[in-house]
């Protein structure tokens, strides 16, 4: 059994890196796009079969537990659908000459490197390895963000790179501090970095060191999560990179960073004397939420708009996990999954829309329901879903977060509601402009590839009405784990 | 007392009000003329007017719709039904349970509603002036009236006029501040509702000051007759109302099998009350000038305030 598991893990991290190598060598756009999809599909299948096999004890490097399996499946799934979207997207980019075949080859290779980095970060049982993997994923996305080589793209990539590097450094310092805290108990060397041992022994660690470490980790990984005021790289990176990458950034990379934060939060809660990380997360979450909600109003670029919405939702999620308790944690997890699915599907439709209109300017996009009904209503359902309206899944998570918070912390719940409402106001304002009114600009029919969009939206819709019992049990165990 | 008699008395009441109404108008006019040192028309003049109008052809504006022709009868009917439900000389009439005081007020509201519509039907500027001002005055007067009704109902424990009057006629109602306020308020409301000075002038034909008359400007012949008759009925209704509430003495109680003599006395007393009311009205109208139309809301507003105050004071006196 263990062999199977190891094999699956090997597939999950091996397939991406191998295909990254292949893609770097393979010429020909058609083949590499297909190979990219295939690699993602294989990874996804491996991830799904993780669900079916029994889980063996964790090894020194890799670990599959209830928490990360959620992330892995989500990660590989969105990675896969984004790859299918990417095929249709890049096809168009190649046709209009925004990307050359050489850059595309690089793009596909980097896509797999990024998948590798993220998968590795998720399955690693070693906090050092996790750090390395998160950084790898970050650096690969930096390269993708700058791939258009326009002035703005380079600037965005540069900003991302510099801020990311500082984040990297802070996270590393935090990791070193955790090691230092663990070392007297677990002994020197590898052992003091293995997650599972850390967690079991956490109570005997020095709480002061853990506190200090958490500050650095929260800031370091929080930069990647995009929490305000560490968010600055995020809108630019989303807006200037290729849209599939925006989808992956919002849908996946933020989650991976969040996963790291959650891991260390668990460590903190496992130590009785350490600072409760909850309030810190709650404050940062609320700050991000309200800040991003206000920033939504003055946007002129559609991708930047949704990038800020990602910050907003990361705020909500971090808030939920910060509040803790079975309901809020459950809601936080659900919210995270829903956000990944919805936001990537929004970026799928935004990508097509921007290609049709030849612009990402909000003012250039009007009357979509009239000129492109499917895309228009697809975008509308995406925006409704992201604004937390039923019958989509995010409504359930917001329902749980708000109702469970209000009884415990009325003021916080009111602030949360304020943030959500502010964001709703901005999103709806823009949405009405996008999909209603007389259509302007290019009216040619779209050659969009709708499958990933509708796949995501139907999952989200289903989750809003019916959650499979198994998934609920599974989420509940994770929620209990998170404390 | 059998059902026949009950129906008979009710019928008598209906006939009485419609028969006496023009006379009341006549009395008012006569007294006013005399007060201004004029001879005045003979007392039967309103009856003659009505009959002459009835016999004349109707000259209908070309644009008038069916509504315009139906309204006079509707208004008359609504006012008549309302007047028939007021205990004029006897309480507990057969059909008095049909509608209580609130419904009577609302019936008058219906009449006004249709009349205002008729004023707009032909599409003239004067009709519009009349209707809009009438509705403005009414929207002040009606809540005042309703508050008066509240005061009464809270004192008497019933909105049923018969019950209330019986209660008020009984000895255990002393002088009440609230009742006084209600009286003043009711008088103001009555003046406003009947288009009397100082709110409106029933005899004016100066266009810009008209309210009620502007509304019915396009009416002629039998239609006008019905409308004149209904205004007379309405005046009678209000004076009877004031009479039966504030001077309820002498009213026969048909529930208590009043004797024939009691009825006769009651009818006589009622006629006296009416004449007194008419004379007082005439004196009041002669001694006061008409207001500008936009002063009217303040005037009617006084009624509203007094009625409200009356209601509130009622609670104070009850909790004492």
């Amino acid at each position: 059994m263990s062999g199977v598991l190891q094999n699956l893990v090997a597939i999950i991290i091996g397939v991406p890196i191998v295909s990254a190598g292949l893609l770097a060598l393979l010429p020909g756009y058609w083949l590499s796009a297909r190979l990219n999809i295939l690699a993602c599909l294989v990874t996804l299948l491996a991830a799904l079969s993780l669900l079916l096999t029994a889980r063996p004890p964790a090894g020194p490097y890799f670990l599959i537990d209830d928490l990360n399996i959620v992330f892995i499946v989500l990660n590989t799934f969105v990675g896969f659908s984004a790859a299918t979207f990417s095929a249709s997207y890049t096809n168009h980019e190649l046709a209009i000459g925004r990307l050359t075949p050489t850059y595309l080859r690089f793009y596909h290779a980097m896509y797999q490197v990024m998948m590798f980095g993220m998968n590795l970060a998720l399955v690693s049982n070693n906090i050092g390895l996790m750090w390395v993997a998160v950084e790898l994923a970050t650096l690969s996305t930096v390269l993708m963000v700058g791939i258009y080589r326009t002035h703005e793209a380079l600037e965005a990539a540069w900003k991302y790179f510099i801020l990311g590097s500082v984040g990297i450094a802070l996270a590393l310092f935090g990791t070193i501090l955790v090691y230092l805290a663990a070392q007297p108990v677990l002994g020197e060397g590898q052992g003091a970095m293995i997650w599972t041992s850390l967690l079991t022994q956490a109570n005997s660690f020095d709480p002061a060191l853990l506190n200090l470490a958490f500050v650095f980790l929260l800031l370091g990984y929080g930069t990647k999560v995009g929490l305000a005021p560490l968010h600055a790289w995020l809108p630019d990176a989303h807006a200037e990179g290729p849209t599939p990458i925006s989808a992956v950034l919002s849908g996946l990379l933020l989650n991976v960073a969040l996963y790291a934060v959650l891991r260390f939060k668990m460590l903190m809660t496992a130590n009785d004397r350490a600072l409760d990380p909850g309030p810190m997360m709650v404050v940062m979450g609320l700050l991000s939420l309200i800040f991003a909600a206000l920033m939504l109003y003055r946007r002129r670029d559609i991708k930047r708009l949704f990038a800020y919405s990602s910050i907003e939702h990361m705020g909500i999620i971090v808030f939920a996990f910060g509040m803790g308790g079975p309901l809020a944690n459950f809601a936080g997890l659900l919210h995270m999954v829903m956000h990944s699915l919805i936001k990537s599907s929004i970026f799928f439709s935004v990508g097509h829309i921007a290609q049709i209109k030849g612009s990402q300017q909000i003012s250039a996009i009007r009357g979509l329901t009239q000129s492109h009904p499917v895309l228009g209503w697809g975008l509308a359902s995406g925006v409704f879903a992201i604004a937390g309206m039923p019958p989509f899944g995010m409504f359930m998570s917001e329902f749980l977060i708000v109702t469970s918070t209000f009884e415990r912390q009325p003021i916080l719940a009111l602030l949360l509601v304020l943030g959500i409402l502010l964001a709703l106001g901005a999103l709806v304002l823009r949405l009405i402009g996008f999909i209603f009114g007389e259509p302007t600009g290019e009216l040619k029919p779209s050659e969009a590839y709708y499958v990933p969009l509708f796949l995501h939206m139907s999952l989200v819709l289903m989750a809003g009405i019916y959650l499979p019992g198994q998934m609920v049990v599974w989420f509940q165990t994770v929620a209990a784990l998170l404390g | 007392m059998g059902l026949t008699l009950a129906v008979l008395i009710q019928g008598l009441q209906m006939l009485l009000v419609v028969a006496v109404a023009p006379m009341l108008v006549s009395v008012v006019r006569k007294v006013k003329s005399r007060l201004t040192r004029k001879q005045g028309a003979p007392l039967v003049q309103p009856y003659r007017d009505l009959i002459r109008l009835m016999r004349k052809d109707v000259v209908l504006a070309e644009n008038a719709s069916w509504l315009f022709r139906v309204v006079p009868y509707l208004v008359f009917a609504a006012t008549w039904v309302a007047a028939a439900l007021i205990p004029t000389f006897a309480t507990g009439l057969q059909f008095s349970w049909t509608a209580d005081l609130i419904a009577i007020v609302a019936l008058l509201g219906s009449a006004r509603f249709f009349l205002a519509l008729a004023g707009m039907d032909v599409g003239t500027s004067f009709g519009g002036i009349g209707s809009s001002r009438e509705m403005m005055i009414a929207s002040m007067a009606e809540p005042a009236m309703m508050l008066i009704v509240f005061s009464l109902a809270l004192i008497a424990g019933s909105t049923q006029l018969s019950t209330a009057v019986q209660f008020l006629a009984s000895p255990h109602v002393g002088l009440r501040v609230s009742l006084g306020m209600a009286l003043v308020a009711l008088v103001i409301v009555a003046l406003a509702e009947n288009a009397r000075i100082p709110v409106d002038n029933p005899t004016t034909h100066l266009e810009l000051t008209m309210v009620h008359e502007a509304m019915v400007l396009e009416y002629s012949g039998r239609h006008l007759a019905m409308i004149e008759l209904s205004s007379a009925l309405k005046l009678l209704l209000y004076i009877s109302l004031i009479g039966c509430i504030f001077v309820p003495w002498g009213i026969a109680d048909s529930d208590a099998n009043a004797s024939f003599a009691a009825y006769v006395v009651a009818v006589l007393l009622y006629l006296i009350k009416l004449s007194v009311g008419g004379v007082v009205l005439a004196v009041f109208e002669t001694s006061i000038a008409k207001m500008r139309v936009f002063r009217v809301p303040n005037f009617v507003g006084i009624a509203l305030m007094l009625a409200l105050l009356g209601t509130l004071l009622l609670f104070v006196s009850m909790s004492l």
Partner: protein, 220 residues
């Protein structure tokens, strides 16, 4: 571990902090690069001493990387960039050097107080080391935010990273230190290449500020 070993480690770590202060103090570009090279040398000595004390031979690799890469290659490369791109030879500061120094002292105090809170579970050796490392990290960040020139910001980042290496080396038996130092070297190489490629003369964001500002207002 004897007191001598401790004293030497203490001395070297303290030296690193002192050199950090010297970097903050410098307002000439070339002098800054020289001091940075010295910073790297001190780091390399410190790491080597740790390697010797902990008996961890792989740390010597880290020390060597620090010595070769940071004390030699990077300063030389930056020097060439400064010359080739015609960067100002003076360091533009946001606030005065005096204020920055005061802030730096405050930061050091903060990190030492924080580290002293750490109970005796961690041995004194690591504790001292860590206090200095944290100071160096914070000073590096301080330098990044108070200097306007791209080159001096890169230098700030590198000194920050030196602090990290110091901390990692000081953490007894910490695995992956070499890998991390290699990774960081690559990162820094990227940054330096980026500065060079994008012709960032003055600031990180001076790719072409005026043109971008117009664009920003209209389009985002």
């Amino acid at each position: 571990m004897g007191t001598l070993a401790f004293d030497i480690a203490h001395l070297l770590a303290g030296g690193l902090l002192l050199v950090s202060f010297m970097m903050i103090y410098q307002d000439r570009m070339f002098a800054l690069l020289h001091v940075f090279a010295f910073h790297a040398v001190v780091l390399s000595l410190s790491v080597a001493w740790q390697a010797y004390n902990q008996g961890a031979p792989h740390l010597y690799v880290t020390a060597a990387i620090a010595l070769v890469f940071k004390a030699a290659i990077i300063p030389i490369a930056l020097r060439r960039i400064v010359k080739q791109l015609g960067v100002h030879r003076e360091v533009e500061t946001v606030v005065g050097v005096g204020v920055t120094m005061l802030a730096g002292i405050g930061l050091s105090a903060l990190s030492i107080v924080l580290m002293l809170r750490v109970t005796a579970h961690a041995d004194a050796f690591a504790r001292e080391d860590l206090a200095f490392a944290l100071s160096v990290v914070l000073l590096g960040l301080l330098m990044m935010v108070t200097r306007r020139n791209a080159v001096s910001q890169v230098v700030g980042f590198m000194s920050l990273e030196n602090g990290l290496i110091l901390a990692a080396a000081g953490a007894k038996g910490m695995p992956l230190v070499v890998e991390i130092s290699v990774a960081f070297s690559v990162l820094i190489a990227f940054i330096v290449i980026g500065v060079f490629l994008f012709r960032i003369r003055e600031r990180f964001d001076s790719v072409d500020v005026t043109a971008i500002d117009d664009y920003r207002e209209v389009h985002r």
